[in-house]
Structure formats: structure tokens, C-alpha cells
Amino acid sequence: MKTLKSNKLSHRLLKLLCRKEYIEEILGDLAEYKEELASKPAWKRKLFYWFHVFNFLQPWALKNIDGSQKLNQYGMFKNYFKTSVRSLLKNKAFSGINILGLAMSLSLVVLMMLFLGEIYSFDDFHENRDNIYRVTSTEVRGNRGAVVKQATGSYFIADQLAQEVSGVGEVLVMTNTFTKLDIGTEDKAVPVDCYYAGSTFFNLFSFDLIKGNPNTVLSLPNQVVLTESVAYKLFGDQDPMGQLLTAEMSGYLQNGATAESDLKNGVVSGIVADPPVNSHLRFEALISLKTKERAIIERSLDHQTNPGYNSNLYVYLVLNEGVKPQQVEEAMFNSLKAFNTEREDNPLIHNLQSMSTFITSDTYHSAGPTFAKRKLLIMLALTLIVLLSACFNYTNLSLARALRRSKEVGVRKVIGASRFQVFCQFLVEAIVISSMALIIGIGLFLLIKPFFLSLPNPSARGFEMFELAISFEQVLYFFLLAILVGLLAGILPALFLSKIQTINAFKNSLQSKLPGKISVKNILIVFQFTMSIGLIMCAVLINDQYNYTLSYDLGYDTEDILTVEIQGDYVDVLANEYAKLSEVEAISKSGWVLGVGGDGLTAGMFFSEDRSARTLSLLNQIDDKYIPMHNIEILAGESFYEPLGRDVAAYNILVNEAFLKELGLGAPEEVLGQQVLYNGEKIRIRGVFKDAVSIGLTKKFLEPMVFIQTNSATDYKALNLKIASNDIMGMLTKLEEVYAKHDQIHPFNASYYEDSIAETYKAEKGTYTIISFLAIMAISISTLGLLGMVIFNTETRQKEISIRKVLGAGIGNLAVLLSKNFVLLILLAALIAIPITLEIVERQVLNSFWDRAPISMMETLSGFFIVLLIGLFTIAIQVQKAARANPINSLGSE
């Protein structure tokens, strides 16, 4: 695929530039050369090939520039280039401002282009990429009628597709979330993220299977394909093929009991290269789906025939050439007819999703990394705006300086330059500047790249999605872009300057003829300041909400509480040993960490006693120390105060107010002792606690919450330790030592409450960082523009200033004189920016929080004040300079 693209590009380039009579043999020889290169590594191939392509761009091969003035043209362009460089050097301040501004925005554009390129190239290593589709499900779930869209299918529909529907090639069924297994040999095990995958996996996808037969590696139960890195971890340099594997679930729970791994006596049947960064599927091992199916049959579950079992499986398929996805969607609709008639008003609908949209889709929920299209568009828009802003700087400054260069234009025209030639000259100047800016911009990009890559992106789900590597071809595109930017920025001044009539060029009457002296320039300045003010406001508002969220009163104590992740059944032993440490004041156990949520989150369906109402509720398994330790307020009834006996079943729960509301049970005092149904068993409400933040401020999709006391060690996934110690590092080391005695497989994971809560909001933190960064960009660029305008203004008005000074004007008067206009413009920008920004931030960012930080006057005006301050500071420096200058110097030279 890639080679074809570069082929086309080089062909086009050569056809454009080389003489017709040579082109055929040139392309022919290049084609042969390409074959000769075939054995070399890809980067060498490309580099050599392009080197040869460029080598053809020599005088003998190039087309003549048409027209009668061909020699002259070449000379002229050389001359344009020379004068451009001279004029750049002559006006170092202005050139510097222009280049720096453009470089900053171009670095951002380079970043965006690479970013887009990488998103676009996701999954492009699959040979069938254009024909691979994924089945999606749309249905209404739950009491509230929420429409759930998932990128999943069922065994049923996969069978239908493979057997009944025409036009479908390979069909693949696999699990859609990782099964976390501790896979190993007799002597060691490592935690591994696995998928159960059907036998067609390697036929449908083009993952690089290093060892094993692609047709059979996943066709029998208990077959395991390991990635290279896992195989190395387990077997080192030994040949892993055919080795036996043990597997244990990484302490995963199902209905309150540790689930057993479906894989029992695994055999390594193949080795696959680690999935590349740009793959939507990332895994460490694949287990044959037959392994899971065998377990399903043993337990006589109906998963394989029930069309409604559609939340746990990916179904991929390859469409045959020429088959439209709509046809298949229709066929799927028909095969679900019988099933849907039973479901009446809540039909299950399957659609197809094309592989090229896996990454950018935000419609269908999938467990893999994603980057929503909406986010992409916002980033793109902001980049364009920053770029435009920098272009405006150039346009503005050039227009402002037109007056000074009108004499140059006049002389050129007198000597015989045509209007078009003058036009070209100024365009070339702009392109020279933008090309220089690009070189600096690429340098800047390399500086910001690591920072950008390290930004948290929760939708990547813990994977690295981007590399942002620059390839040779891309540099070519960047230069094309620089030329485009030069044209964009330079066209207005070039048009204006080339229009100057010779006779006016030498008069001073030009001032009045500057195009839209007020309008165009001022509009551009207002635009820039609007951007700066808006972006600063965004950053301030988002940061404010972020801090507000972090310091939000969760409704319980979190101070000095350290949570330790538990994966196994050793919680009681570990708790006992921790209790002996002097730093640990108190210990409690829980199923998951309040206010943080994460993977271990559990929820269950609760029914009222007469089954008339039901609600999905968060469910946290705790011990008797938990409530007092977190100081959770009990409104009615009593909390758990003594350990549950060994063999006593848990039949007491604490519920929150929202839970009562959902089930319609009445006031807290009335419900004590009432019973609800959970898992078919009657459970008594022992107490009611006050509503508190259960998962986080951005994710309150479930409000009801239940605490249940349990005596099963495997229910506990977290140990909460109240710590009293100043030596945090020492304390953590001690804890880790103890932990390591009980768990050799999983790394020690402990964090303070504040830190895990901050981790929960890393998406917001990421948005804030990006916006602040853009705001700094925008404000730097507009400040540079302002600086340029002020320098220009004070220079041109130097005489006026001198006369005023001679007549007795003080520095204050001069400052007012020079800054009045700009302040007005900034004020106007603020008037535009403030309402628009408030609206956008409200709609796009803050509406995901269900408790908002109050927006104060100070925040609303923050952008305005900062821009005003920076603007005034810039002006002040220039005024200072102008005011200190000796009037004689400027007045004496007339």
C-alpha cells in the first residue's frame, strides 16, 4: 500500500517537472531500480529511492518555464530570493516576530498532521482493512430506557453470518474484554491480558504470526498463542512451542466466588509478534475460543444459541468484494426477527462498523483504545485558529510596513517591473519566511513531542497509541504546507503593494491609501485577542473545575488513608501482619475504593420485596471497620460493628438515600428492617447512610449504593490503611516487603486517596494542559503581533512624539496617545470572547460534571486582564523607549 503511494507521488512530481521526452525512460529506470532495492529494509528503500528521484531534478531534465522571458524569470526569482533575504536582515525585529510566530503555529500544525496521519493509519497493517467490519449492537437496557450501543455481537449472529448470509468471507468470534490470567509454568507465572479468539483470527487479521500454522493455532481447546515478549518472559531463550502452561484467574470474581480459569492445561501453539502501536486490538496472549466454548457446554449455558448474549463478544467479518454492508445488515435484521418479536418494543439491532472507523468512533462502546472524532475536530480547529493567527501577524505587519517599502516598489516599477513581478516578489518573501519558520517549527515540535505524548488519554485505555515519528515523505508535505502558509500570509500584502501606482509611491500621500487602514488590520487584531482571551478563560475555568473536583467534599474522610490493591485470597493474613506495624492506625477492607471506582467496581440488581420495582445499584463489600474509618454519616439504623462470623451468610445491608428513592421505599426511618431481593435472596436493610460521591464527579451514572458486609476473603480487593507516619517512603517499603511475602505474581500497588482521586480526573487534567498550552501559544503569537504593531507605530510617529515632547508632553501623555487604540481593541475583543467562551466551555467541557465550581467574576474577566496586562506591558516598553529618545535625533534630520 505504502510503496504505491510514494510511487504515485514521485511519478507526479517528476511528470510535473521533467521534460516530456525524458519522462518515460526516467520512470522506467526508476521502476527497475525499485526492484533492485526490494531486498533492503523499508527505510533504506525509501531513502535511496527518493534520493534518486531528486537526483533527476537537474537542469538537463527540467522543463523550460514557458513564455518568452524564460531566462529572465529564473533570474528574477533568484533576485526575489536575494531581496527577500536582504529585507529580512534589514528588519530583524519584524522578521524575528514573523518567523517566531509562524514557527510556533507551524510546530503545532506539524504535530497535528502527524497525529492525523497516525490516526488515519490505525490498523493499516491488515491486508483486508477495507473489507473488515465489526458487528455492533443497539438496544434499550434497564428501566430508564437508556439506549446502549456496543461494538459487540453474539455467537448466534456469527453463525448466521457464516452460514446463512451470502457475501461474507471469514467470520471471527472473540471475547471483547481482556481476561486477566496468571499464566505460567511450574516455576513462574506472569499476569497476562488475554483474549479468547476463534480459529479464523490469523486468517482475518494480519498480525505477524512468527511460529505456528495460522490455520490451526487456535482451532483446538487449550491452545495458547503467546506474544514474543510474554514468551520471552516465561521461557527465555528456550523454544516455547509445545510447552505446557498453567493458568489462574487474577483474583477475579463472579457472583461472589472466585471464578476458575477456563484454561486448564494450556499448550503453546504459536508465537505472534507484539501487536503494533497502531492496532486497535492489543493483547499479550490469545487462547482458542474452543477453550471457552467447552466450558460453556459443560455448564450447559445457552450462550451459543441465544441472540441476546451479545455484550461479551466481538464479531468480525470480511465482506467479499462488491458486497455492500447494508445488504448484510438487512440479512442480520431478518435473522433476528423471531427473537425481536418476543422483545416487542425493545428490538436488538445489529449494524456493521468499518475497520477504518474503529478508532475514531464514539458511537459504539468498545474496550479498545479510541480517539473520538469530536475531540479530533476540536483540536484541528484550534490548530487552524492558531495558524491563522500567526498568518494574520504577518499580513498585519507587512501591511503596516507597506508605507516604508512603497519607495522600493516605486523604483522597481520605474525600472520596468510589471505588477505581476512585484506581486511575485512579495509572495516569495512570504514563502522564504514561512520556510524558515517551518525549520524552527520542526525543532519546536521535537521539543514539545515528549510532553504531548505523555499527556493522559483515558480513552487509550492504558495503551500507547501514538509515536509521532516523522518520515521522509512527510517532511516533503511539510514544505508544501510551508509554501501554502506563505501564500496565505503573503497574498494580501503582495496584492496591495503591487497595486501601488508608481507616481504615488514617491509621494507621502500613500498613508491615506493604505487598504482598510482601520478595518482589516483592526479586525485581525481583534480576532487574535478574542482567541487569546477565550483560550485563557477556557484554561482558567477548566482548571478551576478540576481543583474544585479534587477538593470536593466527598461526604466521607479520606485523609491519610492508603489503599493497597489485593489480588488473591490472602487479605486476612496480610491485614493481620499490617496491623502489627506501628505506622498503621487502623485497617479496613473493601471491594473497591470509594470515589475512585476503576476496574473492580461491582454493581447488582436489587428488587423490592414484591418485585414491583427494581434498580441497578453499586455494591461495595466492606468489613465492620470500614464505616467508622471513613466516617460515613449514618442517617438511620446502625452500621456494621462486629465481624461477621465464619459461616454466617451476609443478609444485612446499608443503603443510601438514592437507593430508597429508586425503589420507592420511603423515608430512612421507615425502611429499617425492610427486606429487598438480591440474587434471589432476601436481604434486610440495616441502616441508611447519607448520599456521598460514589464513583466520581464525572461519572454519576448510578446513584443508588449499597454496602454489604462479607466474610469471604476473595470479595476484598482493597485494604484501606489509616497511616500515621512522616517517613512515607520508609513506610511504603515496609508495606511492600510484607506484601511480597504473600503475592509473588502481582506488583505492589498502593496509593493515597488524594492521588487515586486525582488519577480519576486525569482526562480533565489532560484537557486543561492542552488548552493551557494552546492559550500560551495564542497569547504569545498575538503579543508578538501587538509588539510589532507598537514598534511600527512608535517608529512612524517618532517625529510627532518628538514634537509633542518639545512642546512639553510628559511620558504619561505619550503612553495614553500610543496605547489608547490598542486598549480599545482589547476591550472589544473581550466583549466578543467572554460570552462565546462561557457558552462553549459550558457545553463542551463542564456539562460532564454533575457538580460545578461556581464561576466568579474574577474567572470571567481573567482572560481579559491577562491579555490587557501583557498588552500594556508590551506597549509600555516601547513608549519608554520612544519617550527617552532625544527629540533632536529624529527632528534634526529633516
Binding site: G28, E35, N55
Partner: protein
Amino acid sequence: MEKEHLGELEELILLLVVMLKEEAYGFAIRKALKDQANRTVTIGAVHGTVNRLEKKGFVESDMSDATEVRGGRRKRIFTVTASGKKALQKSQELKVSLWTQIPEFSLGNQ
């Protein structure tokens, strides 16, 4: 006089054109240069040189039939002209005469 002057690469390539006969086109010449003289040059350089030779009148060129390797493109086959041959001979004579005037490297020793 000036027109007949043969540069070093020009001379090499001209000789190769004579040698390769029917197969004397850009890429083949480049390959022969690598094999025979152990010199790696770009395809562009070869093309530039043969075109220069053509301008000087030392070679002529004709398009061959299409071939599959080159994506159906034709080759331009170069053949040496009479004046090309003459130039080669002249250059060799010049060198031989120079060699014979250097007694230290006596050719007779062989």
C-alpha cells in the same frame, strides 16, 4: 575542439554503450558501471551524461519495445555514432602517446 572533449565519466559511459550494444540504456549502463568499474552513481547522473553525449553527437538513441519489468515503459537504447567512435579512439591514442612518453612506467616491461 572543445566540443569533442570527453570527460572521464563520459568516456567510461561511451565505452559501456559500445560494449552493451542492444542493451545500452540508462539503468543497464548504471549497473555495468557498478560491475565493471566499481562506481556507483545515481540513475540521474547516467541519464545526464548520455544526454550530454547525445548533444555532442557521440551517441544516437532510439526507443525500444515496451517491457514488463518497467511497467510497460519503453527503454531508450543508445548506439555510438561514427564521431563517437572517433572520439574514443582519439582519447585512447592520446593516452597511449602520453604513456609512452613516461619512461618510468615503461610499457615495454610487460
